[in-house]
Symmetry: D2
C-alpha cells in the first residue's frame, strides 16, 4: 500500500483512505467520527457499537443529523473494508481486534491503553489482569508524533498515548539530553475535565455530584503513571520515577498539567525557553506561550493544540512547567487522527485545522 | 464584480474574496476570525480594534497562535482593501462605516442592530436615540437566508439578524400562510448563554454572580422584540405583536427558544410536522428532530445548525415549538458567513462544515 | 399530642419532636437531614435507606462527618420511634408507608407525588399505574403553607408540593378572586437545576451531556401539570388548564418560572403589585422584588425563600410573572420542614433561618 | 471588657457583642454579613461600603430582603459603636482603620493581608509598596485557630489567614516537630474557585472567559507564598521555602490543595495518619477522611470545614497530602467568625454550625 505522498510523487490522484472505528459511540469514538466525517482524505466505512448496534449514529447523537453512519456489531470480517482502523474500546478489549486487524493487513491506531506499555508484566501490575496478546506488544509504536514521528510513519500498530501522559510528555520532552534536571524530583500534578471519564454512568460523573466541585483521585496510584515513567525513561536515558496526581475539574473538556523539577545548578529561564522554542518551532500543534502568559484549557477547546509555558523559580531552583490540551483532541482522538495522517503520508494537519472555539 | 458561480461558468479560477472585519476582538468579531481564517474562499485583509489596535490578534487571544492578523485602527481608506466587510460593533456605531463602505463599493454584512429595523422611528423608540443614517435603511436586506435567500444573493447591505430573532423566526417561518395560528397569542420565551452579552465587563457577566444562577431580564422590554414583530408581520401578512422574555443561562454558548401559539381549530401534529419537514428539507443548517427528541443547545455548540421540534397539545389546543442555535454561530457570526457565501455565490456551507463538538 | 405552642401556654418546656426520614440518602432526603440535624426542636431518630442500609450516613456523604446517623432498612415497627415522619421516596412507593404511619398515629409529610392529586383516576392517567391507597387520598392536605396554612396546622398527612407547582402557585396565588385574568391563556414556562432529577444515574444527568447545555423536556406532558391545574382550579374557583413546559438548566440547584396570562381589561401594574405586597407582607419566605429587579435563582440558593416579580405589558395586555426558588428547599425539603413546623406548632422559620449563600 | 465565658461564670446574662464590618459589600464582607446576621451572640451595628454608601444592603443584594443593614461611609467615629471590628478591604487599606480601632479600644479581625507578615520589608517585597503602619505589625496574631488558639484568645488584632495559606497550613501542621519531612522538597499546588478573585470586574473573572476553562496563574510569584513560608518556618522551627502554584477552577467556591514532600526514611502511612487523627481529634472544623476517600471541595461548600486526606507513596518515598476548604468560609469569613468567637469567649462553633449544602 502506497501512502499519499508516494502517490503524489507518482502523479496519482489520491483516493480517500478507508477507515473504521471500533467503539464509535463512546466519547473518543464520537470525537473520531466528528473529525473523520470532515477529513478530506478519509472515508468512514465502518463504525461499530455494542450498545447501539443497528441504529443510525444520528439516532444516538441527534446533532449528527445528516451524517449517514450505521452502527454495526463488530465482526472480524468487517475489518476487510478498512485500510486503517481506530480502536476506541475500554482497556483490556482491544487485543483480539488488533490481532485480527493485523492478520488482515489493516493498520491500527489503538486509543486504549493495551499497547502503550512495553512490558506485559507492568501491564498486569497496574491494570490487574494479564495482557491478552503480549506477543503484539513489540509491534506497538508509542504514538506521540512530536517525539516518535519517524517510527509512526512506518508503524502498523500505533498505541495512541493517554491524555495525562500526552500533557506531561510534551511538557518535558525538550529537556531530554540536557542533564540539568534532577529527574528523581519530578512531580506531575494534572487536572482533567470530566469527559476523560467517558460516557459510562457513575456517581463520579453525575452532574449534581461533580458540578461546582474539584477533587483529587487515584493519588499515587493512577494507571497512567507507568506510561509516563516508561516514556520519560526512554527520553532521558535513565529510570525515571514520578509522583503523579490526577484531579477532576468541573468542566467537560480540557486538561492542564503542572510539573515541578529541581535543577542541578543555576540554569537561566532564557536558556530553557530557547530549548522549547527550538524543539517545537516546526510543530504545528505545540505552542510555547510568551513569558507570563499561562496556559488556560480554553485555548485548546476543540482543537488539537497544546500550549506550554514555564518559569525557573530562583528561590527554590525549580523549573515549573505548565501545559494544556483538550483531553479528547490532542489527548485522544485528535492525536489519533494526527497519527493516521502521518501513517498515511498525508499532511499532518489534514482534518485538524480547527483554530479553536472561543469564547 | 462577478461572484464565484459566475466565475465558475466562465471557467475562471476562483480568487479568494478579500474580506474585512470592523471590531475583530469582541466575541462576534472573534468568532468571525475563527471562521474566516479557515474559510476556503476568503482572505482576511482587514481587522480593526479600538482597544487593541497595533497588536497582533494572537497577543489578545493566545489560542490564535500562528494566525497572522494585525489589529488596526479603523480608517475609511482601509475599506478599499476589501470586497466584503463584516461589521461587529455595538449598536449605534455601524452607520458611518456602512455609509463609507457603500460609497466605496464594498458589500457589507452588519452584525449589529442598526439596519434590521425598517423604520427609523421604531429604532428610536427601542434604542433610545435617532438613527445616524436613516437614508440607508431601505438598502438593508434582513439576512435570514432560510427566508430571504434570494434578496440576500443580490444585496449590497445585509442586516444580520439578532440571535433571539433568528431562533424565533426559524421556529415560526414554516407556519406563514397557513392561517391556523392565532397570531395574537404568540408567546416567545428564550434562554441564552452568557456570551450573548459580549466581552464588556459587567456584574451581570461576572463569573461568581452568574454561575449556578438562572435569571430573567428585560421582561417585556427587550430590543429584539420589534425585530421579531417586524419580520413576523412580513411573513404572516398581518401585524404581529408578541410577548418576548429573554433569560440568562449559566453557560457560555447556546440559545433555546420555546414558543406557544393557540390554534384556530383542530390541527394535527402530523400536519404541522410535515409543513416543517417540507420547509426545511433542503436547508443545510436547519433540522427538525424526531418526535419526542427535544432540542438541547449542545447539539449546535460551535456549529451553524438550528434544531427544532414541536408538539400540538390537544388539552390546550396550543402548538408548542422549541428551537436551539449557537448564539455566536447561527445567531451571529456563522449566519454572517452564510450570508457572505450567498452574496459571493459560494456554496452556502463553505467554511461552516463543522458538525459540532460533543461532548 | 400537644404541639409546641400549646405546651408553651401550659408553661411546659419543649421536648424535641422525634422525627424520621424514609429515604434519607436521595437528594431530598439528604437535604432533610442537613436541615433537621441543626433544627432546634427536632431529634432525628430514624433514617432509612435501601441502597446504604447498615452504613453510617457519613460514610455515604463524607461532608457529614460528625453527624451520627445510622441508616436502617425500613420496617413498619421502626415508625413507632417517631412522632413525625418525612417520606422521600420515588412516586408510587409511599402509599404503604403512609398507611402504616397513620395506623400508628405518626403524622406524615410526604415529599413524593402520591398524595398530591385528589383523584385516583387523575393519578392513574398521569403516573401510569393505579394508586396503591386511594382511601387515604382524602386525608392528604396539600402542603403549600402560604395558601393552606390553617389546614396544615391540624393535618395528619401533608402532601408536600412538587417543585414546579410550588414555583407556579406562589406566583399566581395572589391573583385568585380578582377576576381580571383570562385563565384559559395561562402559559407556565419553567427552568430547573439538575438536582431536581435526583441521584439516580442517567445520561440525562451525566455531567458531560448536561454541562453547557440547556434543554426542554416533557413538553406538554409533564406530571406536575395536573397538580398545578388542580390547585389553580381550587384557588380560582374554575377549571384551569395550562400549558406547562419544563426545561433543564446546567446548574445543580434553583428553579425559575415565567408565567404569562392575558388580562381582561386595563389593569395597572401598580394594582397588581399592591395585591402581591398585601398577600405576602407577613410571609417569612416570599418576597416581591422592587420593580425592574428580576429574580435570579442564586437569590435563594440554599434558603427556603421564594422571590417574585411581575410586569404588566401594555403592548400585549399580558401580565408576566417570574418566580424563583431553590428546588431542594422551598421546592422540596425546606417546605417540608416548614410544614413540620406548622404541624408541630413551632415558629415557622425554625431551622430555616439561612439567609442564603452568595456568591 | 469581659468575654462570654467570664460573664457566664459571674452568672451574668450574655449581651450580644456589637460588631462592625468595614467593606461589607465585597464577597468576604457579604459572607460575614450572612454569618453575623444569624449569629446568636453578635449584633451587627456597622457596615461600611465605598461603592454603595447610603443604600440598604438588601438593595445591593436582593436575597438579603428583610435584613435591615444600612451601608455607611467609613468615618473613624463610627468605630465607637463596635466592640469587635471585621475589616474586609483590599490589601494596603486596612492600616489606618486598624490604628483608629485600636486607639478606640476596638478589637480587630483583619481579613486582608496587611498584618499577616511579621516583617515590613517582606511585605514591601511581595506587595510592592511600603507598609503604612509597621509599628502595629508586632501586635497582630496570625489567626489560624488550630495552631494559634491561645494567642488568639487574648489578641486585640487578629490577622485572618489567606485562603491558600489556610488550606496549606492545616494540611501540614500535624507534621511539625516530627523531623521526618525534607522541608526543602515542599511543593504546594493549589486550586481555587473564582470567588477568591473578589467582586472587582476583570477579564479573568468574566464568565465567558473563565467558564469551562482551567488555568494556572501567578506561578512562582503569588503573594501568599511568603505567608505560607513564614508560618511553616515557625511551625517547623527552620527556614522553609516552598514552590507554590495557584490555579483557577471554573466554579464559584472551593479550594483544594495538593502537597508533596519527600520523607527522610521509611515512614508508614499509618504512623502519619495517626498523627493527623490526634492533632485534629478535638477540632470541630477539621476532618481527616478515611483512607482512599479524597477531598472534594463540595464537601465544605458553605461550611467552615476543612477535609484532609493523605498517602505515603512508597515508590517515591513521598507523602502526598490533599486538603479542601470553602475559600470564603474557612478560607476567609468563616475563619474570621471563628476567631471572633475565640476572642469573645464564645463557643467556637457559634454561628458556624452549617453542615454544608449538598448536592
Amino acid at each position: 500500500m502506497y501512502n499519499y505522498k508516494q502517490l503524489q510523487i507518482l502523479g496519482i490522484r489520491v483516493i480517500d483512505m478507508k477507515v473504521g472505528i471500533i467503539g464509535a459511540t463512546g466519547y473518543t469514538g464520537l470525537q473520531l467520527v466528528q473529525l473523520l466525517v470532515r477529513h478530506e482524505h478519509a472515508e468512514l466505512v465502518l463504525a461499530t457499537s455494542q450498545s447501539y448496534t443497528g441504529k443510525k449514529l444520528a439516532a444516538v447523537y441527534p446533532h449528527l443529523a445528516g451524517v449517514e453512519v450505521h452502527l454495526e456489531t463488530y465482526e472480524p470480517e468487517l475489518l476487510d473494508r478498512c485500510e486503517y482502523l481506530f480502536i476506541a474500546l475500554p482497556h483490556g478489549l482491544s487485543g483480539p481486534v488488533v490481532a485480527e486487524a493485523r492478520a488482515r493487513g489493516v493498520k491500527v491506531i489503538d486509543l486504549g491503553a493495551d499497547f502503550r506499555l512495553d512490558e506485559a508484566e507492568v501491564y498486569r501490575q497496574w491494570y490487574g489482569s494479564a495482557h491478552s496478546h503480549p506477543e503484539l506488544l513489540a509491534e506497538g509504536v508509542y504514538g506521540l508524533p512530536e517525539v516518535n514521528r519517524d517510527k509512526i510513519r512506518t508503524a502498523c500498530l500505533v498505541a495512541n498515548p493517554g491524555c495525562y501522559p500526552t500533557s506531561a510528555l510534551l511538557a518535558l520532552a525538550p529537556l531530554a539530553g540536557q542533564h540539568f534536571c534532577k529527574m528523581d524530583t519530578l512531580i506531575i500534578d494534572s487536572k482533567s475535565g470530566v469527559s476523560g471519564a467517558g460516557r459510562k454512568l457513575s456517581l463520579n460523573t453525575h452532574f449534581s455530584e461533580v458540578n461546582e466541585s474539584f477533587s483529587a483521585y487515584g493519588v499515587a496510584g493512577h494507571r497512567h503513571t507507568p506510561e509516563i515513567e516508561q516514556e520519560l525513561s526512554k527520553l532521558f536515558g535513565e529510570t525515571v520515577t514520578v509522583s503523579f496526581t490526577p484531579h477532576l475539574v468541573p468542566m467537560t473538556r480540557g486538561m492542564l498539567t503542572t510539573i515541578y523539577v529541581s535543577l542541578v545548578d543555576n540554569i537561566s529561564e532564557d536558556r530553557v525557553r530557547r530549548l522549547y522554542q527550538e524543539y517545537y518551532q516546526d510543530e504545528p500543534f505545540v505552542t510555547l506561550l510568551d513569558p507570563g502568559q499561562w496556559p488556560q484549557t480554553k485555548y485548546c477547546y476543540g482543537s488539537n493544540k497544546c500550549f506550554i509555558n514555564l518559569t525557573v523559580d530562583g528561590r527554590t531552583n525549580r523549573l515549573v512547567i505548565v501545559s494544556c490540551i483538550d483531553n479528547l483532541m490532542k489527548g485522544a482522538s485528535g492525536q489519533a487522527v494526527q497519527n493516521f495522517n502521518i501513517m498515511a503520508g498525508l499532511p499532518e494537519e489534514t482534518g485538524l485545522a480547527n483554530v479553536g472555539i472561543l469564547p
